[in-house]
């Protein structure tokens, strides 16, 4: 009989110990949580200091994260949502699901950061990535008139897709529908998220893919392969600043705050450049990794103010749908 009691006691002990470890749940986009993304390294680094269990959950691409959150509402298990960008922060804040933060940091962002709901963790320029040996277009018009095949992402589900929509809109304004109409025959497919698009490009399904100026760094640093390049566009390049926010419904608010603080610390920011392949929002002490100096630095950066996006997004999306469905 004794061994049974002992077994029972050990089970009770184990569940008690388990219950003591608080769980911090973070919704992130898919490529963040994959084994080659920042997720695993961030998890190890944060769990060293938090005495908690950090759980990343991949929930589609960035823009789909917001829909997921609306779907969950206040019931959400998530404590933190990581992977929205400034094009979505206004819409996200409007849901009323997010809490304020008090994180302060010495940001290395191309703009001044004043948002009190969201904390930026990295940034980059959108760009079309191509094989370095092919001639690259120099602007949207030359891309549209070429035979080049491109893969883009859906602006309704993906932050790069939304970025491209606003890139064209902010560069061309009322002329944007005409640009899309001309681009239509270049588009092989429109994917749900960045991962699918980039995978298809690497598999040879297209000549160019919408990604970032920092994407070639991945091939250069991780694979010692200099065959990929980002095309420099004369219109300028649209910026993306990726952010995370704490949910008001979180049952671990202190841990969530701790995570946001951790996010702008050296431990987190040092992981970003060579796993998420973006510029860190706070330059780590060790600086940027070798190879990043070879990347294209656009002369002109485009970015719409976060609060102007919702109205413009609606207009641009209707134009995009209209042009691409013919």
């Amino acid at each position: 009989m004794k061994h049974l009691t002992l077994a029972a006691a050990s089970i009770i002990g184990a569940t008690a110990a388990l219950a003591e470890t608080p769980v911090l749940t973070v919704y992130a986009y898919d490529s963040f949580v994959t084994e080659w993304g920042p997720g695993p390294a961030v998890e190890v680094a944060f769990e060293e200091i938090c005495n908690c269990d950090l759980q990343f959950i991949g929930a589609g691409d960035g823009a789909a994260l917001l829909a997921r959150l609306k779907l969950d509402g206040a019931r959400s298990d998530a404590d933190i949502v990581l992977g929205l960008d400034t094009n979505l922060t206004a819409a996200a804040a409007e849901t009323g699901l997010f809490a304020q933060h008090s994180v302060k940091a010495d940001y290395a962002l191309p703009i001044e950061w004043t948002d009190t709901t969201f904390v930026p963790f990295d940034w980059g320029y959108f760009a079309f990535v191509h094989n370095a040996d092919a001639t690259a277009p120099t602007d949207f018009k030359s891309l549209a008139s070429s035979d080049s095949k491109i893969i883009i992402q859906d602006p309704r589900s993906s932050t790069p897709g939304l970025g491209l929509l606003l890139w064209v809109k902010s560069a061309y304004g009322d002329e944007a529908p005409a640009i899309w109409a001309d681009l239509q025959d270049n588009i092989v497919t429109v994917t749900k998220g960045w991962s699918e698009a980039y995978g298809l490009f690497l598999d040879g399904e297209a000549d160019l893919v919408l990604s970032y100026t920092t994407s070639p760094a991945y091939h250069l640093i991780a694979e010692s392969d200099s065959s990929k390049a980002a095309a420099s566009f004369d219109e300028g390049h649209y910026l993306q600043i990726e952010v995370a926010g704490k949910l008001a419904s979180s049952d671990q608010p202190e841990l969530a705050d701790q995570f946001l603080e951790f996010m702008v610390s050296d431990a987190f920011q040092g992981i970003i450049p060579t796993t998420n392949w973006m510029y860190p929002s706070v330059t780590p002490a060790a600086g940027l990794p070798d190879g990043f100096e070879t990347l294209l630095t656009p002369e002109k950066a485009l970015l719409l103010p976060a609060n102007d996006v919702p109205a413009l997004r609606e207009e641009a999306l209707a134009e995009w749908l209209n042009a691409l469905s013919n």
């Binding site: 919704y27 898919d30 490529s31 994959t34 959950i57 991949g58 929930a59 589609g60 823009a63 789909a64 829909a67 997921r68 609306k70 779907l71 969950d72 019931r75 859906d154 309704r156 589900s157 239509q184 588009i187 092989v188 497919t189 429109v190 994917t191 749900k192 998220g193 991962s195 699918e196 980039y198 995978g199 298809l200 690497l202 598999d203 040879g204 399904e205 209707a318 995009w320 749908l321 209209n322 691409l324 469905s325 013919n326």
Partner: protein
């Protein structure tokens, strides 16, 4: 003494009917209330409606056009492996859509086999995304169906006609014009309309091979309204359009389709004397079977290579899928037995109405409706698996009724009067009169339902949260994350599950046949 006809399941039948129609109507009402009478559609929505119609039309046209020569060849030729080929034509029915898409990508994708061959001779690779990819996948699924429907037409031509034609010295052209053409004029519109109706509610194919506003079906647009914008009103509105269009198409299909779908007889070709260019028949058969076999082989080959890369999450989701299939089969059995007995023993069977409902109801419409109903009460994600299972059972139900109700009808025609005059209790009638006759079609229906359910990628995509996934959804996620090897392994596991489940139930159904 005039006796009233034997009526079975007088109470349980209508109750089961209510259990089927109730939830569907509830979904429809929820959808209607949410759409709030706004019938305005945006440009993207119109494009989705247009694309849905165009791809369905092309899919049906190609399936039928390719099926005619293949069915003709099958009807005219006897060769070794003929019955194996006809059996193989049944494979796409139980093949999970996502698995088939994976096989087609391996063969027709830009980096696939066909493109490599084209590249070797200096031609441009083909791309499978967009309209033609969707149509290729639909033809893959529906060509075998079209062949079987049209072959049935050929087999229904009495052998005496061909005999007479031979006596009159008809050439192949005359045989075609006088004997075969009138049959085709009856069989082809039905096959076309049925495939058209089936393709209207296509979701998984469009999700994986479509893309962008140009290649979005209504079903996919419902999903996008849900998952991209969380716009329930628009999802509901699109659902109403879906129901209207699919309902009309299904009604037309049922009017056009020939009523007799007798089992058997497919293996006994009529003797023919007009079979001149034999090679042409074999070319058609070779092409049609290659179109089926090559993607299937691709799944098996790449799957075996990918099995070591399969992550543990795939096995978790396989368990979830088995759970869904199990619930689905149980629900189907509980619903279909009283319904089939009730319908089969009534004067007017209502089988056609059931079929209509099955073809017209879109899983995502029902899913949207239930989501709207469930959401205020509990977290819909916690019931993702049971809801998926129930919708799958509903989708399999019309087919199962079509299989079982005629069996009930003939059993009652043969033994009903005797049973009634002996005043046998219904339990005894069920046990000794119905059960032996229902077991085979029931096993077949349950097998089909289990296979469909284990491989379904539909409602689960609306309800699932990142933690919960069925195997098809997990496989789709692996494909999206570009883990091709793991996805290939998952595809093979899913294929094996679907076929094993089907065979298990089907064999269980037939096990009784000898005793």
């Amino acid at each position: 003494m005039a006796q009233r006809a034997l009526q079975l399941s007088k109470w349980t039948g209508p109750i089961a009917l209510f259990a089927v129609v109730g939830p569907i109507l509830a979904a429809l009402i929820a959808v209607g209330a949410t759409a709030e009478g706004k019938l305005y559609l945006g440009p993207g929505d119109w494009a989705a409606i247009r694309f849905t119609l165009v791809q369905s039309f092309l899919s049906a046209a190609f399936s039928v056009a390719l099926a005619i020569p293949a069915a003709r060849a099958l009807a005219r030729r006897r060769f070794r492996g003929r019955s194996a080929l006809i059996t193989l034509m049944g494979a796409p029915f139980i093949l999970p859509v996502i698995v088939a898409v994976f096989g087609l990508l391996t063969v027709f994708g830009r980096a696939g086999w066909v493109s490599s061959i084209l590249g070797a001779v200096g031609l441009e690779p083909v791309s499978i995304y967009g309209l033609h990819g969707v149509v290729i996948a639909h033809v893959f699924f529906n060509l075998p169906l079209a062949v079987r429907l049209i072959l049935q037409g050929w087999n229904d031509i009495p052998a005496e006609r061909f005999r007479t034609a031979a006596l009159l010295d008809f050439g192949p052209n005359a045989v075609f014009r006088i004997i075969e053409w009138p049959m085709l004029r009856k069989a082809v519109p039905g096959a076309f309309a049925l495939i058209f109706a089936i393709c209207l509610t296509s979701f998984a194919v469009a999700l994986t091979l479509g893309g962008g506003p140009r290649a979005t079906t209504i079903e996919l647009a419902i999903y996008q309204a849900f998952r991209f914008d969380f716009d329930l009103g628009r999802a509901a509105l699109l659902s109403i359009y879906q129901l209207g269009i699919a309902g009309c198409a299904a009604a037309i299909a049922l009017l056009l389709i020939p009523l007799s779908f007798a089992e058997g007889g497919l293996n006994r070709p009529v003797q023919r004397w007009d079979t001149t260019p034999a090679w042409l028949d074999y070319v058609w058969l070779g092409l049609a079977s290659a179109f089926l076999i090559v993607p299937l082989s691709a799944i098996v080959l790449s799957g075996l290579a990918g099995l070591p890369d399969v992550p543990i999450s795939v096995w978790h989701s396989a368990t979830a899928s088995l759970y869904v299939a199990f619930i689905s089969v149980v629900v189907l059995m509980i619903l279909v037995l009283p319904l089939a007995a009730w319908m089969g023993s009534r004067k007017r069977s209502g089988i056609e109405a059931a079929s209509l409902l099955g073809l017209a109801a879109s899983p995502l419409m029902i899913g949207t409706g239930w989501f709207i109903l469930i959401n205020p009460v509990i977290d819909p994600q916690t019931v993702a698996l049971p809801v998926t299972a129930f919708v799958n059972a509903l989708m399999a139900l019309p087919f199962a009724i079509r299989m079982l109700a005629p069996a009930v009808r003939s059993a009652i025609a043969d033994h009903g009067q005797l049973a009634q005059s002996l005043n046998l209790p219904h339990v005894v009638i069920w046990r000794y009169v119905l059960w032996p006759r229902l077991r085979a079609p029931l096993g077949f229906s349950l097998g089909l339902a289990a296979a469909l359910s284990v491989g379904d990628l539909g409602v689960i995509a609306l309800f699932a949260d990142p933690d919960r996934a069925t195997l098809p959804l997990q496989m789709y996620r692996l494909m999206g994350a570009y883990r091709v090897d793991a996805a290939a392994g998952a595809a093979l596991i899913l294929l094996a599950l679907a076929f094993t489940l089907f065979l298990l139930f089907d064999r269980w159904g037939r096990a009784n046949a000898d005793s």
